[in-house]
């Protein structure tokens, strides 16, 4: 028996990194369920593939870096990255898409920069960008939501589509899409709401004409509305649990709202309204789950406000004037780049600092 020497403090709050990451995963459940309901079982398989790839990649990286692989994965951060990536890509994207993305996220974006805590970019979003620019076709092949298609691919069929890219009947993803949409729309290719607006506007249609497309329900896009509401709910739980602070989602959604309102006043014919911006695409996921990733976000409260406002603004600008319909990933990465500068200029004034005049 010997005395135990330890540095102070000798008391610690119970919430560890592991707890936090687990809470984040739990808070994603409503959103995932909504996606499952509207877009079929694909999301389930994507989560499984991404999760297992992430764990394997993480363990390999950790042992290559002479760190304990078991302890390393216990913080669940790899799983969070995998989950964020899996819910961002089209549910029936081929398996190698998610595998490449996850491996890139874990190996290149996370571990080559020094492992957890050192990555300057959000791994999931960096991987998403990689996939988007490398495989534009696969990454934009979203199925119509169940409320329009009337049916989704089954549990096994979606696995077959992901693994072999064909159903047991020999249909490819595109054919499935065509069949699903054809029932309603005479084989008009179904895109995401934001994609639809972008395409329509490029073809010279006005916004109100575009919004007549059946994918837009009463308020926002079919299905997408509820997915976003579910993520919003999960995010509020995280807020309530104090896993995240209000600054990032607040500033992000606030800036997006302000920009949208100004835009709709200036050019109501071409710039969509707040309902579309908030409840289509991945806005809520970004606001509560992606931008709040502590590692790549600014740290001070003021810094968080600026960082999230920057994301909100960039999302709006890229969606409205850029080449990509949903701009979350690019906006987040660009804001990640600005974090060191933001941190530098939002340093709180230290107690008794001379600048803090009397």
């Amino acid at each position: 028996m010997s005395f135990f020497i330890a540095p102070s403090p000798h008391h610690h709050q119970k919430r560890t990194t592991t707890t936090i990451m687990r809470l984040v995963l739990l808070a994603m459940v409503p959103g995932v369920l909504a996606q499952l309901y509207f877009f079929g079982w694909g999301i389930f398989w994507q989560l499984i593939i991404a999760g297992s790839t992430a764990v394997i990649a993480e363990m390999l990286c950790l042992s290559a870096r002479n760190r304990s692989p078991v302890r390393g994965i216990q913080d669940y951060s790899a799983l969070v990255t995998a989950a964020l990536l899996a819910v961002s890509i089209p549910p029936l994207a081929p398996w190698w898409v998610i595998v490449i993305g996850t491996v890139f996220a874990i190996v290149v974006v996370k571990h080559l920069f020094g492992g957890i805590g050192h990555n300057i970019f959000n791994p999931a979003m960096a991987a998403y960008v990689l996939l988007l620019i490398s495989f534009p076709v696969q990454m934009t092949s979203w199925l119509p939501p169940v409320t329009l298609a009337g049916d989704t691919t089954s549990f096994i069929e979606s696995l077959r589509l992901i693994v072999f890219q064909f159903t047991s009947d020999g249909y490819s993803v595109n054919q499935v899409r065509a069949v699903a949409t054809g029932q309603l729309l005479d084989a008009v290719v179904m895109a995401t709401p934001l994609d639809q607006i972008k395409t329509d506007l490029a073809q010279g249609l006005t916004l109100s004409e575009s919004l007549r497309n059946p994918i837009f329900g009463a308020f926002a896009g079919h299905g997408w509305l509820w997915v976003n509401v579910a993520y919003l709910f999960g995010g509020l739980v995280l807020l309530q649990q104090r896993v995240i602070q209000w600054q990032i989602p607040g500033a992000l959604l606030g800036t997006l709202a302000v920009a949208t309102i100004i835009g709709s006043i200036v050019a109501p014919d071409t710039l969509p309204g707040l309902n579309i911006h908030w409840f289509s695409g991945g806005t809520m996921l970004a606001a509560f789950f992606i931008a709040t990733d502590p590692v790549s976000a600014a740290t001070s409260n003021r810094g968080k406000l600026i960082y999230a406002a920057l994301i909100g603004l960039l999302i709006y600008l890229i969606r409205s004037f850029g080449g990509y319909p949903d701009a979350i990933a690019f906006a987040v990465l660009l804001a990640n780049l600005c974090v060191p500068v933001i941190d530098q200029y939002t340093r709180p004034q230290a107690y008794g600092d001379v600048r803090g005049g009397q």
Partner: protein, 199 residues
């Protein structure tokens, strides 16, 4: 003829640019800082001569003239890094030819053996040894730089270099160094076993 114009135009351009640059080089010449002073202030001032120069200042001058930075064992890697930073040179590891980085030491004279020859007094570069001919000498511990230059001249080898004792005020919060004590009290011996929670 057009090639001639081309050459002439370029030549004129070159002459004008050259004149501007030449003028700027003279007009905006930056007076170099007293770099030796800056280097000297980074050196540990032990005046030990291990670098091969008689004192820190001569070494500072030598560095300013292009000598290697890594010849100062008392300063150690920290000094090398700072010098490299100051001079924009590459920080190399300490040159082992000049000695190893060692713990801080201080000279202590075994006073009963001292014969009062004053040789160490003359050897001390910072006048940190008190005494007179045929009187016992002693080291002013606070002023001693630990250069050990006094050790060699002593005819009776009565000078020891002892590590500086750690004072609680200058303790460096190294919990690893605290020896383990057992709770039953009887066996309270410092062992090599370290039960330390630091990480």
């Amino acid at each position: 003829m057009s090639w001639l114009f081309g050459i002439l135009a370029l030549a004129a351009l070159a002459i004008i640019a050259g004149l501007i640059l030449g003028f700027a080089a003279i007009r905006f010449r930056v007076e170099s800082d007293p770099i030796v002073e800056q280097i000297d202030s980074l050196l540990p001032q032990t005046q030990c001569g291990q670098c091969g120069y008689p004192g820190c200042r001569p070494y500072a001058e030598a560095i300013a003239n292009g000598d290697e930075l890594n010849k100062c064992p008392p300063g150690g890697q920290a000094t090398i890094d700072k010098l490299a930073d100051l001079l924009g040179r590459e920080a190399k590891p300490l040159d082992a030819a000049h000695g190893e980085e060692d713990v801080k030491k201080v000279a202590v004279i075994r006073e009963d053996e001292c014969i009062g020859c004053t040789k160490c007094i003359q050897a001390c570069p910072v006048d940190a040894i008190m005494g007179a001919a045929r009187q016992m000498h002693t080291v002013i511990a606070d002023e001693c730089t630990g250069c050990d230059l006094c050790v060699e001249p002593c005819p009776v080898d009565c000078i020891d270099m002892v590590p500086v004792a750690i004072q609680p005020e200058r303790w460096k919060w190294d919990l690893e160094q605290i020896p383990v004590q057992y709770i039953d009290g009887s066996a309270s011996s410092p062992t090599t076993e370290q039960q330390v929670e630091t990480q």
